[in-house]
């Protein structure tokens, strides 16, 4: 059935409403003036140049990338393990594992932030990529868990049995057959974990120190002292990275399949 003209117009309107704020911010970032104005005055890449040469922004960018990658890798490892426990464990009830694994989605960020802060103060872990990376890994874990669990329940047990009867130990079967089959799902979950870490500000604020701040934290503190077009430029850059990741999630699995077929 084809949608009528009215429905299509309405859909376009809703879509426009969703992206309008982002577009406006992006527009303000290319102003040649020194105020955040819409529409922008003239066109100039000066604010991007300023951001990309400012050591404070660059350090924050590096921190964000580090934290995001760490969060993604840790979330992939932990989320995949938990998904296996939920799908395959003989003694752990699946409902319990699933409940625990998706808990970070439901806990308010403020509560999570305070919790991590208190624990880190006690164990003396703070002000580095590891501390925030672990915290963000916990927040990103559900993305990996849900994805891998879905992929894992789709894996035919007889495929694994075929590997076993072909002479593969349980470990070899896991490494050669099962993990490759769920790897695309784990990767998608990892990308989502990265993206969620990339713009996460609440927990990052609780855990920030003057010497270790991520991009959203620096943005937040700068906004408090007045909005400059440099903020718009950073916001635009952050959005572009997130869009890139989203594209990766959408196109990635198809590319992986193509590469695999060639080898």
């Amino acid at each position: 059935m084809r949608a009528g003209l009215g429905v299509r117009l309405f859909a376009c309107l809703v879509a426009l409403l969703f992206v309008a704020p982002t577009l406006i911010v992006a527009a303000t970032s290319v102003t040649s003036g020194s105020m955040v104005t819409f529409p922008p005055k003239g066109f100039s890449p000066r604010w991007f140049q300023e951001v990309l040469t400012d050591p404070e922004w660059l350090t924050a960018l590096g921190n964000s990338v580090q934290v995001g990658l760490l969060a993604a890798v840790l979330a992939m490892a932990a989320g995949t393990s938990l998904a296996f426990a939920a799908a395959r464990s003989r003694f752990l009830p699946p409902a319990l594992v699933t409940g625990l694994a998706v808990l970070p989605m439901t806990v308010p960020l403020v509560v999570a932030g305070i919790g991590f802060y208190l624990v880190y103060v006690r164990v003396g872990l703070s002000g580095n990529a590891l501390s925030l990376g672990i915290a963000h890994a916990v927040l990103g874990l559900p993305f990996v868990f849900v994805n891998v669990l879905a992929a894992l329940t789709g894996v035919d047990r007889r495929v694994e049995e075929a590997a076993r009867v072909s002479g593969a130990t349980e470990t070899v079967t896991l490494v050669r057959i099962t993990l490759p089959l769920v790897a695309p799902a784990a990767l998608v979950g990892g990308v989502l974990a990265f993206v969620s870490s990339w713009d996460e500000v609440v927990v990052a604020l609780f855990l920030n120190t003057p010497r270790f701040r991520t991009l959203p934290v620096v943005m937040w503190s700068q906004v408090r002292s007045g909005v400059e077009p440099s903020i718009s430029a950073v916001a635009t850059l952050i959005t572009l990275v997130s869009l890139l990741m989203a594209a990766l999630v959408l196109v990635g699995p198809a590319v992986v399949k193509k590469v695999r077929r060639r080898t």
Partner: protein
């Protein structure tokens, strides 16, 4: 390819490549249910055995016990004199074909077939030739570069077969290998699998619920019902000499007459309130018995016809249906006790009756089979 290369294979087995498999007192319980109940049987090297039974008969459980996926509660699985009950699956040197193919979806056809070789540490440079030979054996030469998803169901099952035989295991297990294929392809594959397993000399244990498949492919059939081994023998024995009502009913159509056997002069006769069923052979004393008559052994005569001179069994009835089935004609007759009897006639010959007619069914005593000791 030289003759010695065929026999040695990658596992280095010499001589007869098939394994001798012995099942001794296998029991498997699930709660109170005995899924496999004290099954003992022997499969000789190179033999094609079919485990036949309805769903829930324990045939698949038994196969999974042989493969090592399920541990038996009692009994032993002995292969070539070695008790492998405690040997893990991956060291049992078994090839297996699954109903749903169970190919590795992320690997190419060639990588699928090469997998068992890789696991058995066959040198990389020897693998390609062995893989291609196995693919040629299942008529898929040159398909190595494809992805399993690009192949049809029949082709996928051929790849699974190639994967199962590539390392020349002495024992090939098949779990309803043709269940997912359509009828024509299934019949073609039956012949192909049978030819291939003979050529390779493999011992094969095949699981199916399809009696036709069992009769066509097997050297021996083990009929299972309710976890128990009902009868074990050649297809001819199971069809021609069923040892129980279960066996008679499961393999082919049959008419069963139950009663006490007693002597009338020189002839043993099954005492029925209607008709006269002669029992072949020398029968000492009175006892309970079941007489099995195959539908094709029965002749139909109009009710008033003269009985022939020779001693024949005669049972009256009313024709209830006449079903044309191409090369034969299936006539259903309602017996005097209300039981439905089946008769198979040649479809070319005209039928001496029509639906609703009273008829007499006749057959020679030599063409029936008697099951004794039936309760």
């Amino acid at each position: 390819m030289t003759e010695t290369a065929t026999q040695a294979g990658p596992t280095g087995r010499e001589g007869s490549p098939g394994a001798r498999v012995e099942l001794a007192g296998i029991v498997k319980r699930y709660g109170d249910v005995r899924a496999v109940d004290d099954v003992s049987l022997t499969v000789e090297p190179g033999q094609f055995l079919t485990l036949l039974g309805a769903s829930g008969s324990g045939k698949t459980t038994l196969l999974r016990i042989i493969a090592g996926f399920v541990d038996a509660d009692e009994g032993r699985v002995v292969v070539d004199g070695r008790d492998i009950s405690q040997v893990p699956v991956h060291r049992r040197e078994i090839g297996m074909v699954f109903q749903n193919y169970a190919l590795f979806p992320h690997l190419s056809v060639a990588a699928n077939v090469a997998f068992p070789l890789e696991m058995r540490r066959v040198r990389r440079r020897d693998r390609a030739a062995l893989v291609e030979r196995a693919l040629e054996a299942v008529q898929l030469g040159g398909y190595g570069g494809r992805s399993p998803k690009e192949l049809s169901g029949g082709q996928q099952q051929r790849v699974a077969l190639a994967r199962a035989i590539v390392a020349r295991p002495p024992l090939l297990l098949m779990d309803e290998p043709l269940g997912a294929l359509d009828r024509r392809l299934r019949e073609a594959m039956q012949i192909e699998i049978r030819g291939l397993s003979r050529e390779l000399g493999l011992t094969v244990i095949n699981v199916t619920h399809d009696q036709e498949e069992a009769l066509t492919m097997s050297d021996h059939i083990a009929l299972l019902a309710g976890g128990r081994l009902v009868q074990h023998g050649t297809p001819e024995e199971l069809y021609g000499l069923p040892n129980s009502e279960v066996a008679a009913r499961f393999l082919g159509e049959s008419n069963l007459f139950r009663g006490r056997v007693r002597r009338e002069g020189s002839q043993a006769v099954l005492a029925l309130p209607y008709g006269r069923v002669l029992v072949p052979g020398d029968t000492p004393g009175e006892r309970e018995a079941v007489v099995v008559v195959r539908p094709s052994a029965i002749r139909i005569r109009p009710a008033g016809a003269e009985p022939p001179a020779a001693a024949v069994s005669r049972v009256p009835g009313v024709v209830s249906a006449d079903i044309y089935a191409g090369d034969s004609r299936k006539v259903l007759v309602e017996g005097a006790d209300g039981a439905e009897l089946v008769v198979r006639c040649e479809s070319g010959a005209p039928l001496p009756c029509s639906v609703g007619d009273e008829v007499v069914l006749e057959w020679d005593p030599g063409s029936c089979h008697i099951i004794t000791g039936a309760a």
